[in-house]
């Protein structure tokens, strides 16, 4: 029996099924977004807030620590993302082309993704240790003097970038492998029959068909890199590097909110970071579209 107003293309019932996720999204994503916007115009403690106008923004934008944090974040994002993407593309291609038992290697490469960053950070702290770390030991084998990876103001960003690249490989490789697997095997067979070599096959068949996957990863990676926090926390044992040398934007926000007890300033910084990420993503999409054409 059809109801009088039955319409197969528009069923109000659908809202019922969407409701749970809509409630959760609204409660934990949309509301906090506006709440932090409001809080960025308030000062005082969390239980006693007063309107403050643009005072918070003035403070943040004149704070040299904030600019240092932004510089670090940008440096992290614009080095880690391209290096990690190129490396993962190379590794994914090698696994896809040359390796038998692909699923085994896929599992191996995916393990870091399911392991907690904190745990990886602890292990890396040992690797990077200036006096007994394995990295310095390996470097000494090829005659390079030991590097003070963790406790040198000038090295902490480099160390963080190496760590950042390593932690983003897993996800990228898995997604790229999935993208490669989606390409028709016969495209390769026929290309080989035409005499194309591996490089030509990669450049003219694999890569062009991976561009949508690549664009997706680029967007996700950039956003994640701008929000970098856990890696810093894990690598430097809860500190933003020696003498705050590896402070990132989110670290600054966390510091202002929890340590300094200035939620207003933290929220102003949050809004600024939000706008920056929005702009970068927007510009990046524009560029990708241009490149795509």
């Amino acid at each position: 029996m059809f109801k009088k107003n039955y319409n197969p293309e528009n069923q109000p019932k659908a809202w019922l099924f969407l409701l749970p996720s809509l409630v959760i999204i609204f409660l934990f994503s949309v509301y906090p977004l506006f709440r932090s916007l409001i809080m960025s115009f308030q000062k005082g403690t969390l239980i006693n807030q007063r309107y403050a106008g643009i005072e918070n923004y003035q403070k943040v934008l004149t704070d040299p620590v904030f600019f240092k944090a932004l510089r670090n974040t940008a440096l992290f994002a614009f080095t880690v993302v391209p290096i990690a993407l190129i490396l993962s593309l190379a590794i994914a291609w090698i696994i896809f082309e040359k390796v038998k038992h692909k699923s085994f290697f896929e599992t191996i490469f995916f393990m870091p993704y399911v392991t907690s960053t904190i745990a990886i950070g602890i292990v890396f702290r040992y690797f990077f240790n200036g006096s007994y770390g394995i990295i310095n030991y390996l470097l000494s084998l090829v005659g390079i003097a030991p590097v003070n990876w963790l406790d040198n103001v000038n090295m902490s960003m480099t160390t963080l970038i190496i760590f950042g690249v390593w932690t983003s490989l897993a996800f990228n490789i898995i997604i790229l492998l999935a993208g490669m697997r989606n390409i028709d095997q016969e495209h390769y067979k026929i290309a080989k029959m035409f005499g194309a070599n591996n490089w030509e096959i990669f450049r003219r068949i694999t890569f062009p068909q991976l561009i949508p996957t690549f664009a997706f990863l680029l967007t996700v990676n950039i956003i994640a890199a701008f929000k970098v926090y856990t890696q810093v926390y894990a690598l430097f044992g809860g500190q933003p590097g020696i003498a705050k040398s590896a402070t990132t934007a989110v670290y600054y926000i966390y510091d202002k909110f929890h340590i300094a007890g200035r939620p207003g300033i933290a929220m102003a910084a949050t809004v600024i970071l939000f706008v920056i990420i929005l702009l970068v993503t927007f510009v990046q999409n524009k560029i990708l579209k241009k490149v795509g054409e």
Partner: protein
């Protein structure tokens, strides 16, 4: 001395001509293929293909026809036997050096390239690659041949199945191969388009003069366009013959059953003392044409194969009379269905012969067009 010149020249030209005209042969000798899972796809297959011929590998799924194609292309390695092009073995040659063009069932066109780029692709990769401008010129020549010039700037995704097919064939031809291999070229097309494209394929490969091998499971497709048909079953060639012979002179029961639509009627019979006996009728062997017997027929169990169009209605000397169970009208034909000793039998008559369901009809066979198979399925008549 001077007078010898034209002679020598003629001789020399003649020799040259002979060389280029020399029959290009694909020789397949004792070809075997056993897959890793122990499946024996080919059991010592032998055949030859002449230059310029359009040959069809026909057979049901799993008969080994695609395996042969992949072996010739070099996508699979044979377990035994040899494949020779122009007399020299190619088994150890890489696919790219075999001078073949291959078209996959799903065409495998590159979705991110335009039609022109797709067709140019083979010319712009590998050791033999040529300059872009030159490649474009060659590609355009072939695209004119296959009538796809106006599609050159389109992406494969926007083309119809038939257009994609033509692009795939053009791309396979552009390296000027000696052999064109087509794997189920028409199976992705709708019925009407299939008729059109199959004729187009024939016209095209004949125009280019390229030796072509194509694989299909559709007998009608095979019968309509090929010069030669190699009919396979269970890794063995059943018959390698002209299309018409496959229908008129099948080697064995499998061929007779596979070729022809509606399917041939098969009736189990006993031959004893010069009589062919069936629960419903008895035919003296003398009724069959003497010279058509290929072997002597000792008494025993046989199968009488008779095509529906050779089961005739008759008004006199009926072999048997039976009740029609159902009637199908297909275009200008009327197909009568009835049972003979629990075997379903079809007879094709013209539409003018008005026979309705339930009618009692008298039948006879056209004996000179019947087949008799022995208990091994080999044809004896």
């Amino acid at each position: 001395m001077l007078f010898l010149w034209p002679d020598m020249l003629a001789n020399w030209i003649g020799n040259e001509k002979k060389k280029t005209e020399g029959q290009f042969l694909i020789e397949v000798v004792g070809l075997k293929k056993v897959f890793d899972n122990k499946f024996e796809a080919l059991k010592a297959v032998d055949f030859t293909i002449e230059k310029g011929d359009l040959v069809c590998l026909l057979g049901p799924s799993g008969c080994g026809k695609s395996t042969i194609l992949n072996l010739i292309a070099g996508l699979l390695h044979p377990t035994g036997g040899d494949i020779r092009f122009n007399g020299s073995s190619v088994v150890k040659t890489e696919p790219k050096d075999r001078n073949i063009g291959f078209v996959f069932q799903n065409y495998a066109l590159y979705p991110h390239m335009t039609v022109l780029e797709n067709v140019m692709f083979p010319l712009t990769v590998g050791e033999k690659k040529i300059k872009k401008a030159e490649a474009k010129q060659i590609a355009e020549t072939y695209m004119r041949l296959t009538n796809i010039e106006e599609l050159s700037q389109k992406k494969p995704g926007t083309l119809s199945g038939g257009q994609q097919q033509r692009v795939a064939i053009t791309r396979a031809l552009v390296q000027n191969p000696e052999v064109l291999l087509l794997d189920e070229p028409l199976s992705n097309l709708d019925a009407r388009l299939r008729l059109k494209i199959r004729e187009e394929i024939r016209r095209l490969v004949k125009e280019v003069g390229i030796t072509t091998i194509f694989v299909t499971h559709d007998q009608e497709e095979a019968l309509s366009i090929s010069d030669k048909i190699i009919l396979m079953n269970e890794g063995v060639i059943q018959q390698n013959d002209d299309p018409q012979n496959l229908y008129l002179e099948p080697n064995n029961q499998f061929v007779a059953k596979f070729i022809g639509n509606p399917i041939i009627n098969m009736l189990p019979v006993t031959i004893k003392e010069g009589q062919m006996m069936h629960p419903v009728f008895t035919i003296p062997l003398a009724r069959f044409t003497d010279i058509r017997f290929k072997k002597p027929v000792p008494d025993g169990q046989y199968t009488l194969g008779i095509r529906p169009e050779n089961v005739l209605t008759t008004t006199q000397d009926a072999l048997f009379t039976t009740q029609i169970k159902s009637v199908e009208l297909i275009g200008r034909e009327r197909i009568l269905n009835f049972d003979l000793a629990d075997k379903h039998v079809k007879s094709i008559v013209t539409i003018e012969e008005i026979i309705e369901e339930g009618a009692e009809v008298a039948f006879d066979f056209q004996y000179k067009k019947a087949f008799i198979f022995d208990d091994k399925g080999e044809r004896v008549y």
